[in-house]
């Protein structure tokens, strides 16, 4: 019977069997995983999930403040007079405690602070983005400290993408909020749109990140760049060290072929 080497290979491949030799403890651990479904308890996942929910919750009091001050039916109108923007509040001013006037400049601190009008909405978004960066960077540092297998490249790429995501979300929410402020008379309308657009943009960007592996690719690129620069210097230094040791042990002129 004549069988060529490729045929033999294909026959062997078709009947390939894998035999894993495992220590008893590992086998018990695998059985535990298989039956319980979970492998390890990841505390960082809980921390990150709580942070994200906390950030969403931070935006809600702004909408609540507007509703408390102006009521659910509170209406505002933004008008431009002699190239200056004004916010006109409809309804009885006596029922309000902070915005007791009927017309304010769009840049009035009271109006901006309440996240009303384009400027107010943008200020609220900027502070939201700042807070999310202030939250996510320490959370990433904590994750890096707790996690055993996260490399420095992964840590740096996670911070970089988180900041990029926060900025993008702020930009998207700002466009949606400004557009709503320009057309609606509902005082709480723009901030509600900002919250909705912000939440969806955040979830969407995470989904895109996961789908295209942006953070992972960035981590790999950083690792490669590190290997090509610092790693290469370390390898060269180790090589010089090894050759110098060999020259000393074998009584050869030290440094020959390396330094001279």
């Amino acid at each position: 019977m004549n069988t060529t080497s490729s045929e033999v290979k294909s026959i062997v491949n078709q009947n390939a069997q894998t035999l894993d030799v495992l220590p008893a403890e590992e086998l018990v651990e695998i059985h535990r995983r298989y039956t319980s479904g979970t492998t390890t308890n990841d505390p960082t996942a809980t921390i990150k999930a709580s942070t994200s929910l906390g950030l969403v919750a931070l935006d809600l009091p702004k909408a609540q403040r507007i509703i408390r001050e102006l009521g659910l039916t509170g209406r505002v109108k933004v008008v431009t007079h002699r190239s200056k923007q004004y916010v006109i509040f409809k309804g009885n001013p006596r029922s309000r405690s902070i915005l007791t006037g009927t017309r304010y400049s769009a840049s009035n601190p009271k109006v901006v602070d309440m996240a009303i009008g384009r400027r107010g909405v943008n200020k609220a978004i900027a502070s939201g983005a700042r807070i999310s960066i202030f939250f996510t960077v320490p959370v990433n540092i904590l994750t890096h400290i707790i996690s055993d297998d996260q490399t420095k490249a992964e840590f740096l790429s996670a911070i970089a993408t988180d900041i990029a995501k926060a900025s993008l979300v702020a930009a998207i929410a700002s466009v949606a909020g400004s557009a709503t402020a320009a057309v609606t008379t509902i005082a709480a309308g723009p901030i509600v749109v900002v919250i909705a657009a912000g939440i969806s943009a955040t979830i969407g960007l995470d989904a895109l990140d996961r789908r295209f592996g942006i953070t992972e690719t960035l981590a790999n690129e950083l690792q490669e760049a590190y290997d090509d620069t610092v790693g290469e210097i370390n390898r060269q230094a180790a090589e010089v060290n090894r050759r110098l040791k060999w020259q000393i042990l074998n009584g050869r002129p030290v440094g020959q072929g390396i330094f001279y």
């Binding site: 390890t40 309308g189 909705a196 995470d206």
Partner: protein, 133 residues
Amino acid sequence: MDKRLAHLVLLVFDALSFWAFSHVINRWHDVSQSIASSETSIELQSPFGLYMATLIIPIIHSQCLVKIKNKSIEKARNYVISGLFISLLLAGFVFDHLIEKEVTNAGYKYCSSESETLTFSQFKVYAKGRLCQ
């Protein structure tokens, strides 16, 4: 922002929010199909149902186009909008809970080693009939 441009921008957001809503429904359908075909693993993003909250954008936008002169109707409309927004937020969380329950009830087990946590969301992998890697 110019009113015409604002409406155009909001139209884009309207389209995106309808797409997001249909994406949520499609995902639910996909998960049900995966369960029916006994796939070895199912990945769920959490929170995912909050995409539904974007439906408030076309609702607010559409009410900007309609001028209501009757104050009591306007008041009622604003109450409805606020109620809808809160309901959509709650529906998002309920949706996540329901879809997770559907997967675990089908015998799938949470596999934390294959799951990933990104900045604001978690990608949970559920496995059935195989080991978690």
